[in-house]
């Protein structure tokens, strides 16, 4: 029965092919699933990075416009006021009021601009910008800030910016809620990673607990910024008094 034999072999061939297809399908699903999710996560991270970067750029632009344009205009007004005072006899009280107003406007503009984009960050780097910022806010809040570093100079600009924002947020929290009088920020560059230790002597503040609360947008901001630059934040929970946080960023040179 030649024909029969052929049918039998076709039977086995057909079955083999069907099994092959079925196993192939399952195999594709298994391997592709992991790949697919890795792509999804990468895309999400990318989007986060892009949005943070565009936020930074936009803020820089606004700060520059504000600073250059408005401050200059206000200074010009001051100059013209002085010219006016010399040329004609002005009502001194009104003159002083105007001057005060212009000075106040100048100060506000500067504060807003510096808040939007720390002035020294791009030109000098993280540490000078941080020191400058803390010198500005520290005395008013009656906190003694100390910034120690073992030489952290050339950080990639986006990393420096996000770190600045993170540290700014942490120190702002200290000022607002912490009852802090002394705080130390230690930046250590060890081989290929950057470690930042922030300690204060204020009210104990549990990062994890507060992160879970509904209106924890500031803290969520911190974690997402750190995530975008490949960093982590850990709280030293064994500190009896005050708080201590450690931010670690690995592979700082490849960030």
């Amino acid at each position: 029965m030649g024909q029969g034999e052929e049918v039998v072999s076709l039977f086995y061939i057909g079955t083999a092919i069907m099994l092959f297809l079925a196993f192939g399908l399952m195999f594709i699903v298994v391997t592709y699933q992991r790949h697919f999710f890795r792509m999804k996560r990468k895309e999400a991270e990318n989007m986060l990075r892009v949005s943070l970067e565009s936020e930074k750029n936009e803020r820089a632009r606004i700060a520059a416009d504000l600073h250059d344009g408005v401050s200059g205009d206000l200074s010009a007004i001051k100059n013209y006021l002085s010219v006016l005072a010399k040329k004609e006899s002005v009502n001194q009280t009104i003159f002083d009021e105007i001057k005060e107003g212009v000075d106040a406007a100048l100060q506000n503009t500067r504060a807003v601009s510096h808040n939007l984009m720390p002035p020294l960050l791009e030109t000098e780097g993280l540490v000078p910008a941080l020191k400058n910022h803390l010198n500005n806010v520290g005395p008013k809040a009656q906190i003694e800030f100390e910034v120690i570093t073992n030489g952290v100079d050339q950080l990639p600009p986006l990393v420096a910016y996000q770190l600045f924002r993170v540290l700014q947020e942490l120190t702002t929290n200290m000022i607002k809620y912490g009852n802090v009088s002394k705080s130390e920020i230690n930046l250590l560059l060890e081989k290929d990673s950057l470690k930042i230790e922030i300690s204060d002597n204020g009210v104990p503040f549990n990062f994890k607990e507060n992160l879970a609360k509904p209106n924890a947008s500031g803290l969520k901001n911190i974690t997402s910024r750190l995530h975008a630059i490949g960093g982590t934040i850990v709280q030293n929970e064994e500190k009896p008094k005050g708080n201590q946080f450690t931010i670690t960023i690995k592979n700082i040179n490849h960030a």
Binding site: T15, M18, L25, M26, F37
Partner: protein, 223 residues
């Protein structure tokens, strides 16, 4: 036929299936489902019962008592389809119309075919049942894959009971579709049955083992 090696092989499979059926029912009722996988636990209930009662029947009546298996195998085709159809519908939790359509189409075909049923041709008719079942189940499997990729988080496939269910049924049906369609004709032509039916039997064992693993993944030992 008794002295044939193939006879003993096919009987061994019956007992394999019986063992699987016993394990299934045992695990189903002595272990408790995990909270988050409760649905996966529930969906195979009809299947578990079908396996247990079905194999019990087969062992008692067919092997021991030698009653003709034809009536049982034809019925089994229907029950197996209903169990799988139910399982996938409850697993995906949607496509109600699809579920009903499949049921109606299959039942229509089944009932219509019963008029043409005779004891000599039952294997061949069962082949067609298997073919329709395969197509429908593959559709369910594809829908399940679609849902899998839509998820937001990575879930390890090897930990999902549903994965084992789908793997088992797809391999079983895809690999088995040609045997069920052809073995009847080959038997008529050659007088040999189990030789060609072997593939199907092996796949059957594979499927049942997958279902057991899936059930185990969905449950934990009762405390």
């Amino acid at each position: 036929m008794r002295n044939n090696i193939w006879y003993y092989i096919s009987v061994s499979f019956v007992f394999q299936y019986l063992l699987c059926g016993i394990l299934l029912i045992y695990f189903y009722y002595t272990r408790s489902p995990r909270k988050e996988l409760y649905n996966e636990f529930k969906v195979i209930k009809p299947f578990v019962w079908l396996m247990f009662i079905g194999e019990l029947y087969e062992v008692i009546f067919s092997v021991i008592l030698f009653v003709k298996t034809a009536y049982w195998t034809t019925l089994y085709s229907l029950l197996e389809f209903l169990a799988f159809n139910y399982m996938f519908y409850k697993l995906l939790k949607k496509h109600k119309t699809l579920y009903n359509t499949f049921n109606i189409v299959f039942l229509t075909f089944y009932i219509t075919s019963l008029f043409f049923w005779n004891i000599d041709n039952h294997n061949i008719v069962e082949g067609y049942y298997g073919a329709i079942e395969t197509v429908f189940i593959i559709i369910w499997a594809i829908l399940w894959f679609k849902d899998l990729f839509k998820k937001d988080e990575v879930v390890s496939l090897w930990r999902m009971p549903a994965f084992y269910y789908v793997l088992g049924t797809v391999i079983y049906l895809c690999g088995g579709v040609i045997p069920v369609l052809f073995t009847g004709h080959l038997f008529k032509a050659t007088g040999l049955w189990t030789k060609y039916w072997l593939v199907f039997l092996i796949l059957g064992t594979f499927m049942r083992i997958m279902m057991i693993i899936g059930l185990l993944k969905a449950t934990v030992k009762k405390p």
